[in-house]
């Protein structure tokens, strides 16, 4: 089953990803193909199988709450596309 244009646009919006019409058409085809291929997973019996999120036996890794140096503000801001003094400059969130 091919994804609809609306479905592709819905996913793109969730991902905050702008797409051209040509990209939307191409993604409808390609994502549908790929997802169809993934149907193979439904053949696997996973009753009572817990999910694995990562492969190592570590849990709740914590560290001491110790003060340490962080990067100087000038370096943190050095790559900012828009800045204003000591701030990142962003567009209005509330319109």
């Amino acid at each position: 089953m091919k994804l609809s244009r609306e479905e592709v646009l819905h996913i793109a919006r969730l991902a905050r990803l702008g797409l051209t019409d040509a990209e939307i058409d191409r993604l409808r085809e390609q994502l549908s193909d790929i997802l169809e291929n993934f149907e193979v997973l439904q053949q696997v019996d996973t009753t009572n199988v817990p999910p694995t999120t990562q492969s190592i036996p570590l849990q709740n890794v914590t560290r001491g709450d110790e003060v340490a140096d962080s990067l100087p503000q000038s370096q943190v801001l050095a790559n900012a596309p828009r800045k204003d003094g000591e701030y990142f400059r962003v567009r209005a969130v509330l319109e």
Partner: protein, 485 residues
């Protein structure tokens, strides 16, 4: 002696004996880069000034008698590892001008050894791809046949080593991105156990799968580099606090007492005859070296690994890449007023096709209504795949498979068919799903094109696969062949 062709071990011996200086070695590599780079396009940035100043410092260290095996040795770093003051692009327009304010832990560790960073290597954008064709800048060519891909995503690192532009390189591996290009370029590439090497400063793709590792000219060099980069790092909470052995100590040539399994699911469908032939010969060689070989091992869930991987990796990627919003760093679309529009346009023009495809795929798999059927299901299948490996490792010390089902394919051949491209990783990605260590070493040629053998080990048993790889390498000549370019 051709200086740029030296291995780490050979160069170290000459540096220590003062028969060669690091500046001479570095200049030899820089000259080699000038000569072959127009043909192979392996490097996004050549850091010649940095390299020469590091080489001078290394020569001072050597003069003082302070010599680590990597002191003064030129290395190429995949362009997804942060290098302080040197732009780190991930071969993406999104990070084309990004200059990190800090070093990745692996880079810091190499620098502490007195290493010489000679360049940053080309890759598939954000490490998503199997051919390096998904670089936003240019395609890297395979030095064995310039019309073919070098593999990916660490294609630039593999080519830099295969074409002798550097003595060794670092790559990263999420589903085969070190091993598959190592196989395609006839070099040695190791993906360590998940948690063995710190990921701090590695630009995140799929955080539960990513791992950094060496690409080298032989197995000894691989062990030397792993010694330098392995170990716990308090900046990476997934790095594991196990002691780091001296990996060069396990390199012996007698394999008696070891049992190696051959999982039959890795020898099916779409595999090229010459790859299968080379692998069977290589496995017989392991037997001659004293290893017990069991040919009929079965890992039936292998056939589900590709689907599980291409749900899990894009899902994690879609979350990780949410950070590219055009506000903090990276490309930023300016010509609109609305915050949302600016973000959407930034991501539209900053990301390439494959990255967009994976963000879409991952977002879909994580979205309401599909999470259980895709993401959760894939995570459960992940459990079964890992269990199957654990069971196999109760009987076998290591598993052996081809690194990839084919020899390097033609540039452009798979660019219009993402699924065919994904299949190129079918032998390597199950290992990331299970978090295991695996190494690819040269195991022959088919029509002059490289074929790799993959050895898979138990968690944190890098020593076992290095030992088997070393024994095979010492008994064969494949790793000594060089491409004519």
């Amino acid at each position: 002696m051709i200086t740029h062709q030296l291995t780490i071990r050979e160069a170290h011996r000459l540096l220590k004996a003062k028969q060669l200086s690091s500046v001479e070695l570095t200049k030899a590599c820089l000259e080699r880069i000038q000569k072959v780079e127009p043909k192979v396009h392996a490097l996004v940035t050549v850091t010649d000034e940095l390299a020469l100043s590091q080489a001078e410092k290394a020569d001072q260290l050597i003069a003082q008698g302070d010599v680590h095996p990597l002191t003064g040795i030129p290395v190429v770093i995949k362009d997804n590892m942060c290098t302080k003051g040197v732009r780190t692009t991930c071969s993406s327009k999104m990070l084309e001008n990004f200059v990190p304010p800090y070093d990745a832990t692996v880079v810091e560790k190499l620098n502490n050894c007195g290493a010489v960073i000679i360049g940053k290597s080309n890759m598939d954008e954000f490490a998503m791809g199997s051919s390096t064709e998904h670089s936003a800048f240019f395609t890297t060519q395979n030095p064995w046949d310039l019309s073919r891909v070098p593999g990916g995503s660490s294609g630039g690192s593999a080519v830099a080593v295969a074409a002798d532009e550097a003595i060794h390189a670092l790559g990263s591996d999420t589903g085969g991105s070190i091993r598959q290009p190592a196989g395609f370029c006839s070099v040695t590439g190791l993906k360590p156990t998940y948690g063995r090497v710190s990921r701090y400063g590695l630009v995140a793709f799929a955080s539960s799968l990513d791992q950094i590792g060496p690409l080298t000219k032989d197995v000894t060099d691989c062990a030397i580099v792993l010694n330098a980069i392995a170990g716990y790092d308090n900046k990476d909470s997934t790095s594991v606090p196990y002691p780091v052995p001296d990996y060069t100590q396990c390199l012996t040539t007698d394999l008696s007492g070891l049992t190696i399994g051959v999982p039959k699911e890795y020898f099916v469908e779409g595999m090229q005859a010459e790859v299968e032939k080379a692998l069977r010969a290589a496995i017989n060689k392991l037997k001659q070296l004293g290893a017990g070989v069991e040919w009929e091992v079965s890992l039936p869930h292998t056939r589900y690994a590709l689907a599980a991987y291409y749900i899990i990796a894009p899902s994690e990627a879609s979350a990780n890449l949410a950070r590219y919003d055009g506000v903090k760093y990276g490309f930023s679309y300016q010509d609109v007023d609305s915050m949302w529009e600016a973000m959407e346009k930034t991501r539209q023009f900053g990301f390439g096709d494959e990255v967009k495809r994976r963000i879409m795929l991952g977002t879909y798999a994580l979205s309401a209504g599909y999470y259980d059927a895709y993401y959760l299901k894939a995570q459960k299948v992940r459990t079964l795949i890992r269990r199957e490996f654990d069971q196999a490792f109760e009987k076998y010390d290591a598993l052996v498979t081809p690194t990839s089902p084919t020899v390097p394919f033609k540039i452009g051949e798979k660019m219009d068919d993402p699924l065919q491209m994904y299949l190129s990783d079918v032998c390597t990605l199950p290992i990331n799903i299970a978090g295991l260590p695996a190494i690819s070493i040269p195991a022959g040629f088919g029509d002059g094109l490289p074929i790799g053998m993959q050895l898979i080990g138990k968690p944190f048993a890098e020593e076992t696969i290095l030992k088997i790889a070393y024994a095979y390498e010492q008994a064969t000549e494949w790793h000594k062949r060089r491409p004519e370019i």
